[in-house]
């Protein structure tokens, strides 16, 4: 026979266990819904199941001479030296945004050649290059 105290303790442990399982499940589920995938222009071209209209990140180098500014927005071409993609954005750009510099844009894909960005990520340091872009450049520079 279990005493009342032991029973209470077991009940409490089960309670804690169930709550923790729920909490972890809830966290992981939300995590899966809210991750942003990072793709290079080439990956966007090649992948079949790329989701349109879902938030994601695209990165590469801003192509030389490709920045066009109109009253409404800023358009520029991001390249990974194999493929490129046109990005449009409105708002202020981070201070290190320039031609032939690395850039990461967050937003949605309209089609395989056009990306609408909500945010362009700032980097504090001019010598810094996002690791994703470094990898792309290393791969394609060969």
């Amino acid at each position: 026979m279990l005493t009342k105290k032991v029973k209470n303790r077991i009940l409490f442990l089960i309670f804690v266990f169930v709550i923790s399982i729920f909490a972890i499940f809830f966290i992981l589920k939300s995590l899966n819904k809210n991750i942003l995938y990072f793709s290079s222009p080439s990956e966007i071209k090649q992948k079949e199941d790329i989701p349109f209209g879902k938030a994601m990140r695209v990165g590469g180098m801003v192509k030389k001479g490709s920045i066009v500014i109109s009253q409404k927005d800023i358009q520029f071409v991001v390249t990974d030296f194999e493929n490129e993609i046109l990005i449009s954005y409105s708002g202020t750009v981070p201070n290190l945004f320039a031609e032939e510099k690395g850039v990461v844009a967050e937003g949605k894909l309209s089609d395989k050649n056009f990306f609408k960005a909500d945010r362009i990520l700032a980097k504090h340091d001019e010598n810094y290059m996002p690791p994703e872009i470094k990898e792309i450049i290393k791969k394609n520079a060969k």
Binding site: N34, K123, E126
Partner: protein, 628 residues
Amino acid sequence: MLSSIGISLVVLVLILSFLNIYTASLDLKTSSQSINKSVYKLSLFQTTFTVLSFFTLIIGFINSDFSLINVYENSHTTKPFFYKIAGTWGNHEGSLLLWINILVIFSYLFLVFSQAHNKKYRLYTLIFQNILILGFLFFLLLNSNPFNSIYPVPLEGLGLNPILQDPALAIHPPLLYVGFVGCSIYFSAAMASLLSSYGGKSFAQSIKNWVKISWSFQTLGIIVGSIWAYYELGWGGFWFWDPVENASLLPWFAITALMHSLIVLEKRNTLYAWVIILCLSTFILSVTGTFLVRSGILNSVHTFASDPSRGIYILFFLSLMIFSALTIFFLKYKKENYNFNLKSRETFILANNWFMAFFLATVLIGMLYPIFLDVLTNVKISVGPPFFNIVIIPLVVPFMFLMAIGPKFGWVKSQNKFFYKTLFLILGAVAINLFIFYFFGKYSFLTNLVFIAAIFLILHSFLDIKKFINNKFKTELPRIISHLGFALLVFFIGINHQFSLEEDFNLKVGEIKKTNKYQINFEDIKIKESKNYKAVIGNFKLINLKNNLVQYLNPEIRIYSNPETLTYEAAIKTKINSDLYLTMSNVSRSDYYNIKFQNKPFMIWIWISSLMIALGGFTRLTLKKNED
């Protein structure tokens, strides 16, 4: 010159740390009741030399002594005096020296201010703290020495990243360091407490003030960082759930849980093991955060110049810390009896700890998941604000209800005589929320709940303040301030988020942009030369179409020469009920300037309420022993 002085001082500190450990362990074996005088002396010498080494580096920066690599890489002769000093801790090596300074100073202060406590416990604390000091000293000397010299001596330095040349950011690292490194002292104290079997109430009393100090400074440091992000980064936001920000939040959750359960240990002499775990994990999380940031593992917008070799050393040290902490904990852990009544204050404090643990787990998972996925599958992802918002915001609602009701319960067991009052306050909160909902705008169901919970906690705190004025419970003032601050913070962030106005567009000089509420005239631009930068200042005339109020906003584009960098300075007009926020940028010298215009309600109140949270901590420090 300075290089050899600096290195000698650091080596001297290193030797003194060894001596300190040696004399302290000798003193452990003596039967005398008080600690040997030589331990005090050694600690005092150690502190003096550490502080002197830091001043040596500061002098190097003030005099622009470019024979030090560190000064050469991070300073420049034309830099304003204040930023020359701030440059000392604005880089990895210098900030590590500051880190060691705080370890040493806290070690000495603990020794001096803990005289009422057990001798063995104090000596063990000193020994563990000195082991930590040694670990970081070796790191400094072997890997990140700020006193390394360079020859031939360069004529001019490379300059400090202009984005760091800002008053808020200059004081931000010292604040955070007192907060994060200050945790080390109760990490050591927790280990000492296990080894010397000096637990329970007296242990709680000995670390209480240290927890309050580091909690208050951590809170303040995080707030100052957010304020900086708000006006310097030009996005108009102040919290981005960026990995670096998350890294600062992890220890904060642990220490907040610690601060609450420590009260239970002091008053009820229970939860000892849990308090120890929190003491250990707070500092471990602080070092983990530093490791992730400095090693460049985390991909963040605030990237520090990073170096993997630093990471390996910190990782090694971190594993050693965790391993020894766990070993000692499991060897010395004694079983406790928990006797908690559901309707008691300790139960509610435990509930607070559960919430903190949940928030901590969420942020930790969100932070580490991308790293694991990258290592395991080479898929690059990032976890954005929506994840944190979805997981954390719903839990803030019950959390705030408990924050209001919990302190109403007495220790051990109490009756809830205040059921009707609570119900009345909830109804009041619902009514106020409905008022806002109908007159100012519509928002989601969840936002409704958040507002109701926040208003409920605010009303509750006001009643508490009334009671406080009638002098019914004097000691609760710090709690009231912090809890009210938190409620106001949630409330104003909610309002701010719901009713912010944002417009993005491009304009040429002389053009006009009309939105629903405002007309913005881009009148002209001016060029201004400053000591170390050139500024392009835009002049924007802002006409409020409702009341024809005219205001001028002057955002800047600054072109720094050393190093050559652009920064965008937002023009911010702060008023009691809203902030007007305008930034402009320019790409490739185009005729068009990119403008971001925002109207952000109650921004100043977000700062005031978050400062209230920290103020609560500082107020608690001023309480006398018997009042707390």
